[in-house]
Structures are given as C-alpha cells and as structure tokens.
Amino acid sequence: MPTILECRGLRKHYGDVHAVDGLDLVVQEGSCLGILGPNGAGKTTTIEMLEGITPPTEGNILFRGRPLDRAFKEKVGIQFQSTALPEFITVKETLRLFSSFYREARDFDEVVRLCSLDDILERDNRKLSGGQRQRMLLALAIVSKPDILFLDEPTTGLDPQARRNFWELIRGIRKENVTVLLTTHYMDEASELCDEIAIMDRGKILERDKPARLLAHHFSGALVRVPSACVDGDRAPGGGSHQGDSYEIQSENLDQTMRELLAEGINLEGLSIHKPDLEDLFIKLTGSSLRA
C-alpha cells in the first residue's frame, strides 16, 4: 500500500513542556490508524500538527510526498475534539456553507445519507444533541470528499448507542477507501475501527502494530488476578506481581497456576481470569490507566 502521510522527527515544545517529543509516523493509503493514549499524552497536538493546524517546532510532514499546502486542505477532512458552530443557522445552511469552501464538494444528498442527517437538516446548530452534533461535525469533515480523515476523540461524551451509530457511519465512509487517523481513549473504539493502533505517552509512540499482534507479542495465555491483600508482600506465587489493587499473574497454564495459589493457601474468593486486552497492554506499557 502506498504511503499517504508521513512525518519524521516531529516535535512540539511549549516552553519547557515537550508535548510531542520526536515522533515518526507513516500512514498507508486506505488504512485506519488509531492513536491511543491517556489525557495529556500529546495525541491532540500530534494530530493537529498532521492536520496542518499547529506548526511543529521541529520535523517535517509530507502528504503524498509533498509538504502540507493548499492542495492538502482540499483533500483533508477534520473533526476537532470541540468546535463551536456558527449560531442561528441551520444544519443544512452550515453544510452548504462548508461545501462552498471546496472546489470539489461532495453531493449534498450523499453527505446527508452518509451521516444520517435527514431528521435534523432544518434544526438550528445550537439545538443539536451530543450525538447529532458529532454526526454534523463528521458531515463537515467529509463535505470535501477527503482522501484522509482526522477524527480527534470523535465519540467522547456520547452514550453507548450513539457511539455504536457513529462507528457505523465511519465504517460506511471507509468503504470509499478513505484513510482514517483517529485518536481515542476508548479501547473498544480502537479495536472496532482500526487496522492498526499506536500507543502514545509523554509525546512519544511506544508501540505500533495491529491490535492482535500487539497483544500476542506482549501477552501469552491469560491474566489471573487476585486482590492484592490476599498475597503477602514478599511472596510471589506463580511468578506474578502487584499491579495497583491486584496481584497479577500472566499464566500459560491455568491448572498449574491454580494449584500454586492453593498450595500457598491464598483465598480465591476475589479471583478473576481474563484474556488480556488492549486496556491491559496499555497499562503494561504506560503504567497508567487509559481513562485516568
């Protein structure tokens, strides 16, 4: 797959704060890459530099081998984390306004269909619910028929139903071979939508791969957890370790792990076994919880 966007040695410093600290990234045409990270990891700064909104302190960004220029603006679709919409005008008028900005705008009805806006076209921007607003912002991002779509935490604050609806819309748009770059701190969102994920913390990308490969690489077997209080500080049955409130064992052989725990006389009342997911990987890599 050809490269659509790449950056090398990207840095953004605000005084002493290194929001993004030397980041290399290559995004393939038609793929969907999710950038995961806790609050303050530098996700938004990174994505805004890639969008051409924030100038980097250092490093360069190429879109199809060229610096970000006016042509890029015609071909990019952006949904910011928070955007105020012009007041007192309707969804329809806002869409018409934004499509007037582009040389090649998408057909109006198609935008309405892709973002399910039928029922709110005549509504004033100020009277949209959270989910309707996100659909509207997505519509503004795709009026231009973008080749690359940036979504910055697109479903933060939405209820589970609205989030699922939103994912459906993204899947629909992806059928057109649009490249998608999204930031999120929802693991389920990343595994639902993304071909690849990059885990970011303190301005750097720690790992990047397909979700399944990342998990396979970092975990094998299952995770067994018992409450921390049940295991004395200096003992380590099953070769596990204390992680916050729980004692965690990465187990290749559940039978044997159980036997070892019982042999140590540990109370299994609070025991849980689960398959490691991205959340566990995230904690392992960054030492902090994703939604902290």
Binding site: I53, P86, I89, L97
Partner: protein, 336 residues
Amino acid sequence: MKQFSAMVYARTMEFVRDRGTFFWNLLFPVVLVFGFAFAFSGNATLFKIGTYGIAPTGSDFTRIEQSQFIPYDAAKAGEEQGKVIDRLRRHELDMVIDYDAGAYWINEKGRNASLLRRLVHVDPAMASFTERRVSGDPIRYVDWFVPGVIGMNMLFSCLSGVGFVIVRYRKNGVLKRLRATPVSALSFVSAQALSRFLIVMVTSAFVFLGTNFFLHFMMKGSWLDLLLVMSLGILSMISLGLAFASRFKSEELAGGIMNLITMPMLGLSGVFFPLEGAPKWIGLAADALPLTHVTKAARDIMLEGSSLVAVAPHLLFLLAFSALSLVVASLLFRWD
C-alpha cells in the same frame, strides 16, 4: 466567489435571526433620536453669546444669569469672525458681540433676538453699540443630533458586529474550524465586512428614514452625498473593528478595549454636544477619530448644504483611516 457569498449569507442570517441583537440595533438609535428630540425641544441655557475683546467695565449685560459667554480670540477676528457669524446664522449662538468694535450681531429669525436687543439697549455701557443682522432658519437640536446618533450606532454596530464577533469566533473555535478549510483569511474577513456593511447601511437608512417621517430633519444638501459619507463612515468603523479584533482571544478583554475605543470617541466626536470652547488638544484628539469626521461631514451636508468638494477633507480622512486600519488588521490577524 461561491464561498464568499455563502459566508456573507451565513453571517447575515446569523445577525438577522439573532432577534435580540437585531432589534437592539434598530430600536436603540430610534429611542435616542426621539428621546433627545423631546428632551431638547426647549433650550437649557438661556443665551449663548460669542464675544470678542473685553467687556466695558460696569456692563450689566455680561452678568445675565444662565447664559454662556464664549470668548473668541480678538486677534483672529478678521479670519475667524465669518465662521462665528455662521454659527449665529445656524442658531448655534444667540448673539455675537465685538466689544472692541462696538458692534453686535443677532439673527433676526432667532426667538431671543428682540429680547437680546432690548437687554443691550438698557445697558448704559453698550447702548451705543451698532446692530448687525444676519438671517438663518433655526436648527433644532434633533437636526443637529441625528447625524451623530447614526454615526454612533454605526460605531457600535461595526465594533461589536465585526470586532467582537471575530473575537468570539476565535475563542470558541469557529475560526480554527475555518482554518482547516481552504478558505483564506482575506476571503473570510471581507465576507464579514461586506455582511456588516449591508446590515449597517440598511439599519441606518431605516432609522434615519423612519425617524425622519415624524421629525422632518433639515436636509439642505444632496442625499447621494450623504449616502457616500455614510458608506465611508461604515467602511472606516468596520476597518477599525477588524484591526481591534485581529488578535484578542478573550471576549472580556475585547469588551474592555471596545469601551476604551468607544467611550472617548463618543465624548470627543461631538455626537451629543458641540465641543465649543473646549481646550485645543481636545479638538486635535477629536480630529483623529473617524466618528468626528462622519458627523461633521453629515452635518455640513444636511444643515448647510455643503457640496462633496467642501466635505472632501473629511472623506479623505475616512479613506485614509480605513486603509491604515485594514493594513494593521491584515498584519496582526491571527486565526487562533
């Protein structure tokens, strides 16, 4: 062009549908015009008298209560007296006295003329003064006030409708969203300016013609000339609004700065009261403000029937002021 007209349309709709702001823009000046028309249908000061030279000792006339004596520079009597007499002709003064020459002027159409003449005659120190007469129709306060109030409304409407709104757009991220599109700053800013120009032109015309229907303002000059003055006035206020909105991100700060701009301008531009007898530096400061030139030019056209050539210096000032403000605005403009 398509994006430009779409932006003008969107901004205009935003204004028209914001009922509160819309009616405020119409109602406020109308209320002011009518309010002042009634409040000043009487004359607060008894007499306003321009003087040259020093009053003869023992004159009773100079002790008339509730009167304002405005001393003019006797040394400049030759070159300035014509203008002062013009003020008498317009009923801005009730009388002009030249003590040194032993003469006084009154406007024979003034309602105080015969009373003033009698007061001069009973004062032994002045009884021998010669009388000179001028004639001119009285100008009501409201005739004089209406160009000022329209200019003031222009100022508020442009500073808040262009300046304040851009600051709000910058703060809440509308500008950032636009920046992510191919729209250029120039195209965005000119669309804002054109929309506001149309809005202010229409509301000003509405206010003017609406109140004129009841109050029948004096209109000695050409309506087209007045339209041109108004257009240049709006242009200069919009440019000022753009220059002031080019950087700020905080609405509170912008509000404060707006007051800092408008308050002295209202005080110094002679919107409500003529700046007669004010210190010279105030006059100089007033001449640096666009509102002064809008009101002066409009008054000259309406009250004296001045031609475009006569008000050209004001128009040139407005053009230069607009150009300067636009240059400043384009140099300082920030999307975020």
